[in-house]
Every structure is written in structure tokens, then in C-alpha cells.
């Protein structure tokens, strides 16, 4: 699993903190149960200034998770300014005229609140976890920094160094992350999903205060945000609180439709090899260009979810069974699907060969597993296990208010609606074996893919040419 998560982790960058769990949750896409009396009763409303609010009650503990999600991510950046969405996320902690730098964090540090923020290609989110009586306080602060940010070179420039160190830590120091960037960049011929969320190094180091403020003024406005609150609150309480805080924030911009350059129909089987002297365990990863929950025809994204489970999730998956257990040619193998995305997304497969096993052997095995599913489909038992897993996650999620808040926030900022999220389990249940087979046949076509080989040294003949 390490490689799967590393592969997609490049898409998500936090101000500080782990990201693997978040990515894992998002990779499962929209999946929350709210049908009938089973799940929590969710409130959903929009303030006159355009801010959407979602409330997910959970009264077991007097704690609240408060999140604000902006519908802007790295895919909304201007070419040449990669990393700007994430850089701005860091700078959002630098204070406003009303609440100078540090006051918000100090307030949280005093009341025992946790905070963080994260950025992906499609959204930027900020959250606090607090005792419920402090909800009005954090809403005040968060509403204030929605349009009141003040930046100076004194705090912008050291923060850019922090981001460069984050780049060093996440990317430069990690061969797995480096090849992940290369595969994504090669897969997307036209769409900005090919750019790393953290940005290209030479562009990050030139980002400045003016860039950040221009981006901020363009995208940070109540009509471009969703507030998600999970925990010991009711919809009515939250409605009154949001009207008093966020409701006072005027729109500062009209936000254009999120239209990014789209991918042409892919036609070439692409391969790339990256050498890094630190590679002690070679690996292979392949990404296919596939529909997301937002771009797919009805049922297609759900079928891809099931396909990813059957092919690549855990020890019973086809890839693990074939490569690791039966053929014994790999130490690990699996697959994933990133369903939550505004535009066309990725389906990935990966494997780490045992010593002495060639990539050709590994690829033949992977191709064989995929061809088998495309030609003969999957078994009823496999589909049933996959559905059970996906639907149970919705129940497990009810135990974790932060997970619930993330699912709703990610869905709503990636083109989804509350209704789509709550009906997700029903749509998963409805997936047929034919739909799964058809998804494999249609989308796991090698011409839609890039395969990356991570090695310690390039083969000699290639080395000579370089």
C-alpha cells in the first residue's frame, strides 16, 4: 500500500502534517450514507452571499470539526505560477488587519483547538477541531481571513523557504514521489492536473506576495466556498452562527466557471524511466486517464471504484494474488482509483519486483490480470466483497466526524452535491458485473496510460545517449 499512497500523495499538500490518510479517504470518493434514519440528518443551506453550508450532527462528544473549503486548487493556477494555491494556503496563517499574524493560532493554542490546512488540484481547505463552545470564535476568525488577509515580504519570504523545505521533504528526498510527478506530467498532455500541487521548484522559488494576493482576491470569496461542520451541533444553531459571521462577508469576486483545458483522446502507450541513485527497491507504476465521479456517465465511476477494489485493494485483490502470491515475482502490487476530481482523473496500478525479476515480467503479469478481467469479468463474490467494503466505510465514517466532514467537503468542491454523496451507497450497490467488466475494457486500455519505471541506474545504452 505504501506505494499506492505515495503515488497519489503528490496531489495533496498540507500546511503541516500527514496526508496519507486524507488521500486514502478521498480515493474512496463520495461515500456517505444518509438514507432514511440510518445516517445523521444533514442540513444544507446557502447564505445570501453565496456561501454554502453543510452540517453533520454527531452528539456523542461535545466536540466540533469546522472546515472551510475553497473551490480552488493547483489546477486553477495560471501557467508559470505552479504551487501558488498551496503557497497561499501557507500564507493564510499570516494574519489580517483585525487579527494580526499569530492571533488565530494563538487563540486555538489557548483553547485546545487543533488546526491545519491542505491543498489539492481541485480544492483548498482549512479546519479546526475544537470544543463546541468555541465554534462562534473560530467562525469569526475564519470569516475574517476569507477577505481580510494582509501580507508583507517579512512573512511571505521566510514562508516560501518553508514551502521549499516541504518540497525537499516530500519530493526531492523521495524517489517514489519524484517518479509520481513524472508519470502525472506525462499522462496529462493538456490538463493542469499534470502539474504537481506543490509546484515545480523553479516556479515556487519565484512566487511572491503580489502573486499570492492576486490569486487570493480572485478565488477567496464567500460565493466560492463551502463550510462543513461536523459534531455536536444542529443545523439551526449553525445557521444562526453562520449568518452572524460568514453572512457579513461581502462577495469580492464573481467566480468564473471552472473550465480547464481538457485532455485529447489519448492515443499513445507511454513509458518513462527515471533513475535515482537512492533507489534500493525498483518499482513500477502505471496511471490510466479515466473519468472521475464528476465527468463519468451514470454508474461508470462507481464501477471503476469496484474495479479498483477487485484489482488492487489488499491481499485478496487480483494483482496481489497474481504477482505476489501465485507467480511470486513481486513484493507488493495493487491499484487505486481517485474518483473525487473535477476533471478526468487517474486509475493506477503498481508493483515492486522481487530481486532479479525484470519489469517486462511484471508488466506481462499486470497486463494478464487486466486482460482477464476485461475478457471474462469478475466473480460475484469479488463484487460482493468490494461493495461490502465500500458501503461499510460509510458506516465506519459515522464514528469519525472529521472523516465525515472531509467526504462532504471534498465531494462538494469537486463537482458533487449533497444528494450525490448521500446516495453513493445505493449507487455502489447497483453496480453490475457487466459494468465492472466494461469499465476494465473501456478504460484500462494501455493507450490511455503512462508506465513509469523507477530504477537506481539507467540501462547502459540509454546512459550513453544522455
Amino acid at each position: 500500500m505504501v506505494l499506492t499512497l505515495a503515488a497519489i500523495a503528490a496531489r495533496l499538500h498540507l500546511r503541516s502534517g500527514g496526508l496519507v490518510g486524507v488521500v486514502a479517504a478521498l480515493a474512496l470518493a463520495f461515500q456517505v450514507g444518509n438514507a432514511g434514519a440510518e445516517g445523521p440528518q444533514i442540513a444544507n443551506f446557502t447564505l445570501p452571499n453565496g456561501l454554502e453550508v453543510v452540517v453533520i450532527p454527531d452528539h456523542r462528544t461535545p466536540v466540533v470539526t469546522h472546515m472551510i473549503w475553497y473551490k480552488v486548487g493547483s489546477a486553477d493556477e495560471t501557467p508559470g505560477k505552479s504551487g501558488l494555491a498551496h503557497f497561499l494556503e501557507h500564507l493564510m496563517f499570516k494574519g489580517t488587519a483585525k487579527n494580526p499574524a499569530g492571533r488565530f493560532s494563538q487563540a486555538l493554542a489557548t483553547i485546545g483547538g487543533q488546526e491545519n490546512a491542505f491543498t489539492t488540484a481541485d480544492y483548498t481547505a482549512y479546519f479546526q477541531r475544537i470544543a463546541k463552545e468555541y465554534l462562534p470564535l473560530v467562525m469569526e476568525f475564519e470569516a475574517d481571513r476569507m477577505t481580510g488577509l494582509v501580507l508583507t515580504d517579512e512573512n511571505v519570504l521566510p514562508e516560501r523557504d518553508v514551502v521549499l523545505e516541504e518540497f525537499n521533504m516530500r519530493v526531492a528526498n523521495s524517489p517514489d514521489a519524484r517518479i509520481g510527478e513524472q508519470v502525472a506530467a506525462a499522462l496529462y498532455l493538456n490538463h493542469p492536473y499534470g502539474r504537481p500541487v506543490i509546484g515545480w521548484h523553479q516556479e515556487i522559488e519565484k512566487l511572491n506576495r503580489e502573486d499570492a494576493l492576486a490569486f487570493y482576491h480572485r478565488f477567496y470569496t464567500p460565493n466560492n466556498a463551502v463550510v462543513v461542520i461536523a459534531g455536536d451541533v444542529t443545523g439551526d444553531e449553525v445557521k444562526a452562527l453562520t449568518e452572524k459571521t460568514y453572512g457579513k462577508v461581502a462577495r469580492v469576486a464573481e467566480v468564473a466557471a471552472r473550465v480547464r483545458p481538457q485532455e485529447p483522446i489519448p492515443v499513445a502507450v507511454r513509458q518513462l524511466t527515471m533513475a535515482d541513485s537512492r533507489v534500493a527497491q525498483p518499482s513500477l507504476q502505471r496511471s490510466y486517464l479515466v473519468p472521475s465521479a464528476n465527468t463519468a456517465k451514470p454508474g461508470e465511476s462507481e464501477a471503476l471504484e469496484i474495479l479498483a477494489q477487485v484489482l488492487g485493494a489488499g491481499e485478496t485483490s487480483r494483482l496481489y494474488r497474481a504477482l505476489v502470491v501465485e507467480q511470486r515475482i513481486a513484493t507488493g502490487a495493487g491499484g487505486w482509483y481517485q474518483g473525487t476530481a473535477l476533471d478526468e482523473t487517474r486509475f493506477g496500478v503498481f508493483a515492486s519486483p522481487l530481486p532479479g525479476v525484470t519489469f517486462a515480467t511484471i508488466e506481462t503479469a499486470i497486463d494478464g490480470v487486466i486482460a482477464e478481467v476485461a475478457e471474462h469479468g469478475v466473480t460475484a463474490a469479488e463484487i460482493e466483497r468490494a461493495k461490502t467494503r465500500l458501503i461499510a466505510d460509510a458506516v465506519y465514517a459515522e464514528d469519525n466526524q472529521a472523516t465525515m466532514a472531509r467526504w462532504y467537503g471534498a465531494g462538494l468542491t469537486s463537482g458533487g452535491s449533497v444528494e450525490q454523496i448521500t446516495t453513493w451507497p445505493a449507487r455502489v450497490r447497483a453496480v453490475t458485473p457487466q459494468a465492472v467488466q466494461s469499465a476494465a475494457r473501456t478504460w484500462l486500455d494501455k493507450r490511455r496510460s503512462v508506465t513509469g519505471y523507477l530504477v537506481k541506474e539507467l540501462p547502459a545504452n540509454q546512459e550513453k545517449r544522455s
Binding site: 503541516s16 502534517g17 500527514g18 496526508l19 496519507v20 486524507v22 479517504a25 456523542r60 462528544t61 461535545p62 466536540v63 496563517f93 499569530g102 493560532s105 493554542a109 489557548t110 483553547i111 485546545g112 487543533q114 488546526e115 491545519n116 477541531r129 470544543a131 519570504l157 521566510p158 523557504d161 518553508v162 521549499l164 523545505e165 516541504e166 525537499n168 521533504m169 526531492a172 528526498n173 459534531g231 541513485s277 537512492r278 533507489v279 534500493a280 527497491q281 489488499g314 491481499e315 485478496t316 494474488r321 505476489v324 502470491v325 513484493t331 507488493g332 522481487l354 463474490a381 460482493e384 466483497r385 461490502t388 467494503r389 458506516v395 465506519y396 459515522e398 464514528d399 466526524q401 472529521a402
Partner: protein
């Protein structure tokens, strides 16, 4: 879910395992009642019955983790633990995984330096199957040759990756030096040399000596009552031997203090680890040390190390310190990662902050804020069933008593300025052992040994 900044610590420290140190256990809230239950066969467990979500979370731990590895064979505990769900009783590996997945049951095991811990999460409607599978894994792991070889290859693959990972190298060198000759020096996952030599009999011997009822702590949370919980606990653990056969482990203090060890690795960003002696969990000053550390490097976005290393100078993305009580040693640890050419500067700033804290302690305002944060954030460690179950086990392992949750915030509030200043001298005024992994830098003046 690694989500909160706190968890970053766990990731950044790699092989280091932070145990009871993050001691802000569940909350006051009052909503939760912990029952001490005794199963029909006499196994004690702590239970929080919570009917509102249809699931059950069970956590448990056996005392005796990788510190029980045979001296020449580090990696046995980790490998044995990884094999528990790879076939047990009459069920082979494939069958076991299929049954777990068929009911969306989550079963996981981990070996840390002092414990083997496990967790189970299931929908209440599947409780019989879930507890049966857990019983098989704990009491009848098969260790079939084919599965052992597969897990061995995966372990070796991970160890190969670690050979060029700066965090892993910094951590390995630190522990190997600080605990030379002691079980804590052994890499928990083993080595490229030791793992190939581990035999099935080593794995079986490990479970025989560690998996016993007298070593066991259990916490259960969820939609289950005391009588049912007692029966299910017996079903899982009841057939284990009453007593284990743990090898004695000596108490130890970190060695090599005052040394700075450099490991060359061609990476753009160097990793720095600074560590010294800490306070045991049962030390009367432990809570004072915990509060003090919060001010120095425990707080995610307002510690002194955060402000000086990251915010003011942009030297690093991640910088922290932690108090880390183990069963047989106690540590203070601090770490960061920074651009190669700024390594010396980062080390100087960190050492300076540690020294300053040792000499003058926190300000009144810092102390008040730290206590306020630690008491106020208590409830956040209490908001999922799994988190609560983990804490029920940890409090038992730390022998803090079933009323600890009610007392904990008053223990934090009782910490005085005098306490933290006293403990600052104990914790931070000694020499430290430093490991630095990265590109070799031109020789610079040695860093003052005191405080780092």
C-alpha cells in the same frame, strides 16, 4: 487517519515509536463511563458501552514487543506480528483475508519496542465472525512456509528502501548508539542480515513467550454490553496460557551523549535528530515534562522551535520535540529536516532554544497557554471509538488507574512554574546525542555539547 498535525510527529520520526508520551488521554466530557469488566475466565478489560453507532472497536496489547527479539535476530517480533492474519487454524491466508473482507472487518497488528498491539473494528452485526477471526489470529497463527517467505520478502524490500531514507538512517544510528548492547538498539524491523535467518520456530517461540493472559491489556468501545463483551473476550483470549515467559530487559539510559554522528547520504535535505535522557511515565515530574515540552516543541503551530526554526527563519517544514517514555528507558527527542547548506544553522538554533529553555524555563504566559491547550484539547482524543479503545489500553499499560481520565486535567493544571523549571534542568540541561544524515558539509566549529 493521519490528519491532525500531531500525527505528523509519528510519521516524521519513522522508526521511533512514541508511546504514552502523547499522554493527553480522553476527555473529561463526563459523557463516557469506563467499566472495568472481568470475563468469566478472569481476563480484565475496560469497556465503554456506546450504543449510538452500530460498531465495535477492540484494542489490546501484550507487553513485550521487539525488545523480546532474540539477541542475534532482530525482526522476529515484527515478522511474527505481520503473519498473524496470514492464515490461522484451519483457514489459510487467502481464506482468512477473504473472510475478513467479506464482512468488512478490520483487523490489524503492530509490534513496537515494548508491545505487540492489535485492533479490531467491526459492525456489531458481524461481531461473531470478527471475534472468531481474531481468536484464530491470536491463538493459532499457521506460519505456513509460503506465507513466511512472502512476508520475509516484503520485510526485506522495506529494509532495502530504508537504506537510502534519511529519516530511517538518522533514527537507526541514534538508537544503535544510544542503546548499544541493549535490546532497544536493535532495529525493530530487523536488518538485511538478520531477516533471512529468521525461522518459523523463532516466530512460534515469540508468540509462545509473549501472547499470554498475564501480559494482556484490553479496551473495548461500542455497541456491546458487559456480559457479551466478557464472553467474546474469553472466546478470543481465553485459551492463551496464563503466563508468558518474557525475557528480562534491563533498564537503560541513553549512551553516547555529547556525540554528533554524521552519516553521508546524497539527499538535498538533511535530517537532524537530537536526543537525550527523559522521564519515565511513572516519574512524579512526568506531567511537568510533558507540559514543558509542549512549549518547547510539542505544540504544532506555536512552540518555540516552530517559531524560531520554521516561522522566523524558514529553515524547515517540520520541527518538533517530544518526551518519550518507554518501559525500560526514557527519552527526550527533537528532530527537523533542512537544506544541506543550512544544517549547521538549524542545529545551532535548535540547540540554542533547548539551552535557553533549560536555563530560564517558559514564561508565565507560555505555561498558562500550554496548560490551557492541553486541558482544552483533551476531548479531541476521545471522538472516535477507535481512539477511545486505544487510550483505554494505553492507560492500562501505563498503570495510571481507571480514574485517570477524570484526574488528568487537574494533573496538568497542578503543574507549577517551579515544577517546569526544575524539570527543564533535568530534561534539557544534559548532553545530547545528535545524528545528522545528508550531504557532507565543510567542517564547522563543533556544536556546544550542552543542550545538543
Amino acid at each position: 487517519m493521519s490528519f491532525a498535525p500531531r500525527l505528523y510527529l509519528r510519521r516524521a520520526v519513522g522508526a521511533l515509536v512514541i508511546v504514552g508520551a502523547l499522554a493527553a488521554f480522553p476527555p473529561s466530557a463526563g459523557a463516557t463511563k469506563i467499566e472495568r469488566i472481568v470475563s468469566p475466565s478472569g481476563i480484565v478489560a475496560w469497556l465503554v458501552s456506546e450504543p449510538s453507532v452500530p460498531l465495535i472497536a477492540l484494542d489490546f496489547a501484550f507487553r513485550g514487543g521487539t525488545n523480546q527479539d532474540p539477541a542475534g535476530k532482530p525482526g522476529v517480533a515484527t515478522m511474527a506480528t505481520a503473519l498473524l492474519d496470514e492464515g490461522a487454524g484451519d483457514v489459510d491466508s487467502k481464506g482468512f483475508h477473504e473472510r475478513v473482507e467479506a464482512k468488512a472487518i478490520e483487523i490489524g497488528f503492530t509490534a513496537t519496542r515494548d508491545y505487540v498491539s492489535g485492533s479490531l473494528r467491526t459492525l456489531t452485526e458481524n461481531q461473531d465472525e470478527a471475534f472468531e477471526l481474531l481468536r484464530l489470529a491470536v491463538t493459532a497463527p499457521r506460519f505456513d512456509a509460503e506465507d513466511v517467505e512472502r512476508i520475509r520478502e516484503q520485510t526485506l524490500s522495506g529494509l532495502r528502501r530504508a537504506t537510502t531514507n534519511p529519516n530511517e538512517l538518522a533514527s537507526q544510528r541514534w538508537w544503535a548508539t544510544a542503546f548499544a548492547g541493549h535490546p532497544y538498539a536493535r532495529p525493530p524491523r530487523g536488518t538485511l542480515e538478520s531477516v533471512p535467518t529468521i525461522a518459523v520456530e523463532d516466530l512460534k517461540a515469540f508468540t509462545r513467550k509473549v501472547f499470554a493472559r498475564n501480559n494482556l491489556k484490553v479496551g473495548i468501545v461500542g455497541n456491546i454490553d458487559a456480559a457479551t463483551a466478557g464472553k467474546l473476550i474469553d472466546r478470543v483470549f481465553g485459551s492463551l496460557p496464563a503466563n508468558g515467559a518474557l525475557s528480562p530487559v534491563a533498564n537503560a539510559s541513553p549512551q553516547g551523549l555529547g556525540q554528533k554522528i554524521a552519516v553521508d547520504l546524497d539527499v538535498p535535505q538533511s535530517v537532524l535528530m537530537i536526543g537525550g535522557a527523559g522521564l519515565l511515565r511513572k516519574d512524579p515530574d512526568f506531567m511537568a515534562a510533558f507540559v514543558l515540552n509542549h512549549v518547547l516543541g510539542g505544540s504544532a503551530f506555536s512552540s518555540r522551535l516552530y517559531k524560531e526554526v520554521r516561522e522566523a527563519r524558514g529553515l524547515a517544514y517540520s520541527v518538533y520535540s517530544a518526551v518519550m517514555p518507554l518501559d525500560y528507558a526514557a527519552l527526550f527527542m527533537s528532530a527537523t529536516a533542512t537544506r544541506s547548506d543550512r544544517t549547521d544553522q538549524a542545529l545551532e538554533v535548535m540547540a540554542g532554544e533547548i539551552r535557553k529553555m533549560a536555563e530560564t524555563g517558559p514564561t508565565e504566559e507560555e505555561l498558562a497557554k500550554a496548560k490551557s491547550f492541553l486541558t482544552g484539547s483533551y476531548a479531541l482524543r476521545f471522538d472516535t471509538s477507535s481512539k477511545i479503545a486505544q487510550q483505554l489500553v494505553q492507560i492500562q499499560l501505563d498503570e495510571l488507574g481507571i480514574d485517570y481520565i477524570d484526574k488528568r486535567n487537574s494533573l496538568v493544571n497542578a503543574v507549577t512554574m517551579e515544577d517546569v523549571k526544575r524539570v527543564a534542568k533535568r530534561l534539557l540541561d544534559g548532553k545530547m546525542l545528535i545524528t545528522v544524515v545528508g550531504k557532507p558539509q565543510p567542517a564547522a566549529a563543533p556544536v556546544a555539547a550542552k543542550g545538543g
